[in-house]
């Protein structure tokens, strides 16, 4: 250490909220890819599950085949939309809830709270990180599905249009719910224990790991309260043949209800995030 510290104090303008938010996205994304836990349990988890399902059920033939032998899809193709939906949920809810709870307990948030960083810029950084990583994850998942598991991807532009809004809506809703859920764990260490069961149970009842139409009615109704069921349903409408719509709860894709459910949860997540977020746990 030396004493050579220049003393000039020229007046410059404070960096803008959005500018800092964009800078945060780069910083946050770099940190995401440097965390082995996040890479394994958020980024690569859907790949691992898709691989397991494809391998485990490879000999059991196609799903949803018509009596005349047409219209079925492979097990891998059937599970791809569920894994994409799971990826959206993990990238938002699990990633952010564990990440922010950890930052709160290890002092990162306290330090940021003492700087001129606006909480808004912080949120832009977190949500931007979720978007960047979720898009990479989905793109990679589809590439692996197409070229490693030989799963056909839709060619109709309107299917990709549906994919775009379900993905966008689902990811941003997941991100806000993740920020909201981060207020729950009392410490960074307990975060995984609080968040993982929620996310895991949701995946089981929402038609990600188990075929949704074989679940009992009460479980289907329960799952319909939560957003993951609607993300999975929206993704099924994109990647499965239209004949599969008959297996949904009402016998159709119900995209309007997908939009409505995600919209409601988006607002719930936004309000909860806004109300619960603090740089530090305030003392009484």
């Amino acid at each position: 250490m030396s004493t050579t510290i220049t003393g000039t104090r020229p007046q410059t303008k404070a960096p803008g909220v959005l500018c800092l938010g964009l800078a945060r996205i780069g910083y946050e994304t770099r940190l995401y890819f440097r965390s082995p836990d996040t890479l394994l349990f958020t980024f690569f988890f859907p790949f691992i599950m898709l691989g397991i399902f494809t391998a485990a059920f490879s000999s059991s033939g196609n799903i949803g085949t018509n009596p005349d032998g047409t219209g079925g899809v492979s097990v891998g193709a059937y599970y791809l939309p569920g894994m994409l939906a799971a990826g959206m949920l993990l990238s938002g809810v699990q990633n952010l809830a564990v990440d922010i709870a950890g930052e709160r307990s290890d002092g990162t948030l306290k330090r940021l709270g003492g700087t001129p960083l606006s909480p808004l810029s912080y949120f832009v950084g977190k949500i931007g990180q979720v978007f960047v990583t979720a898009i990479l994850q989905a793109a990679l998942l589809m590439l692996v599905a197409r070229f490693a598991f030989n799963i056909a991807l839709p060619s109709e532009p309107e299917k990709w249009g549906t994919f775009a809004w379900v993905f966008l809506f689902g990811v941003i809703t997941s991100a806000f719910l993740g920020i909201a859920l981060s207020a729950l764990p009392r410490s960074g260490r307990s975060a995984t224990a609080v968040v993982t069961p929620v996310v895991l149970v949701l995946q089981f009842v929402s038609g990600v790991y188990l075929q949704f139409n074989v679940l009992p009615d009460w479980m289907q109704n329960l799952a319909s309260i939560f957003p993951l069921k609607w993300m999975a349903q929206g993704m099924r409408s994109v990647f499965l043949p239209d004949s599969f719509a008959a297996a949904e709860q009402t016998g159709s894709w119900d995209l309007i209800w997908v939009a409505a459910a995600l919209g409601v949860w988006l607002v719930v997540g936004l309000v909860l995030s806004r109300v619960t977020f603090r740089w530090i746990r305030r003392d009484v």
């Binding site: 965390s35 709270g113 003492g114 003392d283």
Partner: protein
């Protein structure tokens, strides 16, 4: 020229956590460019006080102004003028020193040069190392670097040199002297009294949530506390002490009494800041114990305040 208003002004500050009164009526002010050391035992209320000034905690009573603003209402512009080195930091360090400093520099309107701060804090060799792989003392340097990167007008240093080896501590002192020379106002808490003596212009001593003394470093404890102490072992093997402003004369008389023989274990002790501090805190503890031992007094006070 009119005199500039104090950078920090604290009047009758109070803070309770439930029924526990952590801070009980503390008042002090810090002038522009001054380095003020807040000293006191663990749990005395130092960190609570400093965190109220930083805007992290709400106060229960009293008036506080930091850079002319009540920390309760301090916005981003206000935070841009502060530098904060917290007492503890243990964030997961998956970024390198340079990356972290560059990022934090970007948060401030008028940051220092990143390389300059890296050199000033002695982190050049570790600049490309992830913070998680640094030693405790090196991490503390990163904390200090992050505290000064925004070119603060007021710097809070809450036990900044914990975990530093003596050499690093001396380097840190010269860094802080550089900041002082530049006009930075500094509020320092430390358990190293020598550090307070080296860096501080004035100091306040907090014990039991109360300011028990405040003044320039050399005046702390009053003139009596600085009176040298002559200590020796007498013919019966007992330790004898005498406080005196004329230690040479006492020693001369002692030697005369012993017919020129050398007194055993002779010492002349000029009380250091540490001695003065320890005496003040000890006196205060004895006083507090005295207060607690006479319950009649407190009962009277209790009766005055309806529940």
């Amino acid at each position: 020229m009119t005199s500039t208003p104090p950078v920090v002004q604290v009047r009758d500050l109070q803070k309770s956590y439930g029924s526990v009164e952590a801070v009980r009526g503390v008042s002090f002010s810090i002038a522009a460019g001054e380095t003020f050391a807040l000293l006191g035992p663990n749990g005395a209320g130092k960190s609570t006080t400093i965190e109220i000034l930083e805007g992290y905690r709400d106060r229960t009573g009293g008036a506080v102004s930091v850079l002319g603003i009540d920390p309760r209402r301090g916005g981003l512009d206000w935070k841009a003028r502060l530098g904060i080195v917290l007492q503890t930091s243990a964030e997961s360090g998956n970024v390198t020193v340079t990356e972290q400093l560059r990022h934090f520099a970007g948060l401030y309107p008028n940051p220092r040069d990143v390389d300059e701060v890296i050199d000033a804090t002695g982190l050049r060799e570790k600049s490309k190392t992830r913070i998680g792989k640094l030693s405790g003392g090196q991490r503390r340097r990163v904390d200090v670097a992050l505290g000064i990167i925004g070119r603060p007008e007021l710097l809070f240093l809450d036990e900044p040199t914990t975990g530093f080896d003596p050499e690093a501590r001396h380097q840190f002192w010269s860094l802080i002297r550089g900041l002082k020379a530049e006009g930075t106002t500094i509020l320092l808490t430390t358990h190293y009294l020598e550090e307070a003596a080296q860096l501080g212009d004035r100091a306040g001593i907090i014990a039991g949530g109360r300011l028990i003394d405040i003044g320039s470093i050399d005046d702390l404890g009053g003139a009596d506390a600085r009176i040298p102490l002559v200590r020796w072992r007498d013919e019966n093997g007992r330790i004898r002490e005498e406080r005196t402003n004329r230690p040479a004369r006492v020693v001369a008389e002692l030697t005369a009494r012993l017919n020129g023989a050398e007194p055993d274990d002779l010492e002349i002790i000029r009380p250091s800041l540490e001695d003065v501090y320890l005496a003040l805190v000890r006196d205060d503890e004895a006083e507090a114990a005295g207060r607690a031992a006479t319950p009649s007094g407190s009962q009277l006070i209790d009766q005055d305040v309806p529940a």
